[in-house]
Symmetry: C2
């Protein structure tokens, strides 16, 4: 049902990153549910996590390992169990998987970063996961990105991944990313995980800046239902194996080239999550223009993107522009004058100066809404700032999926 | 489909308030859609309105008339058309209805307070409304509260109203209120209107304080879908016709008695709106206890009440407590320690210290969730403050109603 999305295919290997996946039996039905990503301890690793106070155990452990240690070697990712709401036992379980893998691989426990996604409140099956380690360690290859993109999904209807290449100092540098997420940013079901690898050579602090900047305008600009995950994580690994001169400051041409391509990859993955949003039948890009500052553009975009009334109208292809104006009106923007606002859906001018546009007809609105990819432009006429957010509609199917999730 | 709600019945007259309603033909089908509430110019009148920047024309006009004038005589209420998103013409139209009524009644235009509810973006049928004024003026009686409760509803499945009486200085004082609202607080469809009358004698400033305090813990504590109306209004009229000594300061026994009974009436009307929430199959009282301050209790209650994942789980009677913890975790409360939180549904302890309670079983959770009236208690263990909010579930029917609203 994903809107305009095709499964991940043809993902390019990244020098210095090897992957493996298998079925560890975490799901009752047979499917791949455990993935291992291996890299050299010289790789730079950056990660951002959910800001939910109710963080899952693997988030707690991965954060700690990132803070306390340099020289990481593994990302260990399971689907089918979020290891969230599992208290101190959950943290012990996540630690146990790290210890067991480290013991087999001959590295420090802190060199392992654990990630989980799936149902909340059930204990992690540590033994099942540990039993799969010998197979995973014995089957690591650079060509397993596609396979791993399959192993990490949950309610996703298809895999998500992309590769891009750029030229840095005459050397081809690859960026490959995979993600899972069934359309909710901020959902409770361990919803969004993304792993992006590159053979670029980057100082870790510079890599941190790239990831933070890029996440701000990609993964932090999507919204399916406004709920926040307990397990969200996005990891960027730079192995430095391509051989160009290390990017050590955030100012060079190479820095900008790399940031741009990482941004392309993350934006693709982020929008893929929305396109595959639970029950989504439409993909909507909300562009708030001519704002007085960035935050007010974002506040308005977010108010629209989270409004159940707007989202059900999108589902029905109903150009109910009053609902959109009402969402804008409650966004909390200081001194907002609705009578300055114009609004377009695709090329159709619907609202002009706060009122139905003169040339607008219900029929032209319905026609514009029929497309399954919509650009909603809100022009505030207050300044020069602009922000973009992506969302999807709210359908019967969303209610069905989430009402029946555990049955 | 309203949960545990019966239509308004047996509403008591309030001395000094006369009402009438009729079918003005605003709806295509025949139904009452216009109501007039008349009172003496000596009555004290207080009102609160939507805080949406996109306020409907009648809200703009009623606010102005309240600010600029004392000695109001009428509330004029129509259903079927919100007169919102209608620009300056909408304001002119609302003013025209006030002028036409004032002209017939021989009072100032500012003595008329207009209210509208219905579809957004269509011009108000001023002529149809005005044509009904002679009938309305000729049929005002104190006994028409029930009839008017019918005339003001839109997608409501039943009328909402209640009467209460108290004794002040040996004199019986009546409070009668009616409301319309189909379950959304903050929705776009001119959703919530409430008119409460009493024959108590109260200074206008004291009446303002009573209304503001009471609205805070009643109408501002309900949430169906988190959207904010363009037309919300709540009006409290005190005619002073009962004959007790005027309440002129917010400190006497009589003041507290009156505030308590107005609070009872408003809480009944507010929860009636949730019970009749669009598509609602469950009525949920969220009680956040032992908070460090009131705001954090409210922030948590609101995060739970607006979470589509929590609301679909309620719809499915699925005790998916991880979703509730995830909503709590994203409420933005400073230094929140999830490991101190306990959670009950009715008498069933589900979460203890951030983790599934020892004695909790999936079966006991399902049993507790089966009821169509639920008390969700979240115990924060951070302090002495407590707040209550009311909400309903998110069902297939909600999506159907809002997807098909205009078709």
């Amino acid at each position: 049902m994903a809107v305009g999305l095709k499964p991940a295919a043809g993902l390019l290997p990244v020098k210095g990153i090897r992957l493996a996946s298998t079925s560890a039996g975490i799901y009752a039905r047979t499917r791949e549910d455990l993935a291992l990503v291996e890299f050299d301890e010289s790789a730079a690793v950056s990660a951002v996590f959910t800001r939910n106070d109710f963080s899952a155990a693997p988030v707690i452990v991965a954060r700690k390992h990132l803070m306390q240690y340099k020289g990481h070697r593994f990302c260990l990712i399971n689907a089918g169990n979020a290891n969230a709401g599992t208290g101190s036992k959950g943290v012990e379980d996540a630690m146990a998987t790290c210890e067991n893998l480290a013991s087999l691989a001959g590295c420090k426990t802190e060199a392992v970063l654990p990630f989980s996604t799936g149902v909340i409140g059930q204990d992690l099956p540590v033994d099942k996961i540990t039993s799969a380690f010998p197979y995973l360690m014995g089957n690591l290859t650079e060509t397993n990105w596609n396979k791993c993109s399959q192993a990490i999904i949950t309610t996703d209807t298809m895999t998500k991944g992309i590769s891009k290449q750029i030229d840095l100092d005459g050397i081809t540098v690859t960026v490959t990313g995979i993600a899972k997420g069934s359309g909710m940013i901020r959902p409770d079901m361990a919803t969004m995980l993304a792993f992006i690898g590159t053979d670029a050579s980057v100082d870790n602090k510079v890599l941190d800046k790239i990831l933070n900047d890029v996440v701000t305008t990609s993964f932090n600009r999507i919204c399916v239902d406004g709920d926040m995950s307990t397990n969200d994580a996005c990891v960027l690994i730079a192995t430095g194996k391509s051989g160009h001169k290390t990017i050590s400051a955030p100012d060079s041409d190479n820095y900008h080239k790399l940031q741009d391509v990482v941004n392309e990859v993350c934006t693709h993955l982020a929008t893929a999550i929305v396109r595959d949003g639970e029950g989504a039948t439409k993909f909507i890009c909300i562009q708030v223009e001519q704002g007085g500052n960035r935050q007010e553009c974002l506040d308005i975009a977010y108010a629209i993107a989270t409004s159940p009334l707007v989202k059900t109208a999108f589902f029905a292809s109903d150009p109910n522009w009053g609902r959109i104006l009402a969402a804008i009106g409650r966004a909390g923007v200081t001194d907002l004058n609705i009578n300055n606002i114009s609004m377009y859906i695709n090329d159709c001018l619907i609202v002009e100066k706060g009122y139905r546009a003169t040339e607008y007809t219900e029929e032209s609105g319905k026609q514009a809404m029929k497309s399954d990819e919509l650009l909603l432009r809100v022009v505030l006429d207050r300044g020069k700032h602009q922000e973009t957010m992506w969302t999807c509609d709210l359908s019967h199917e969303y209610v069905r999926i989430n009402a029946e999730y555990r049955s």
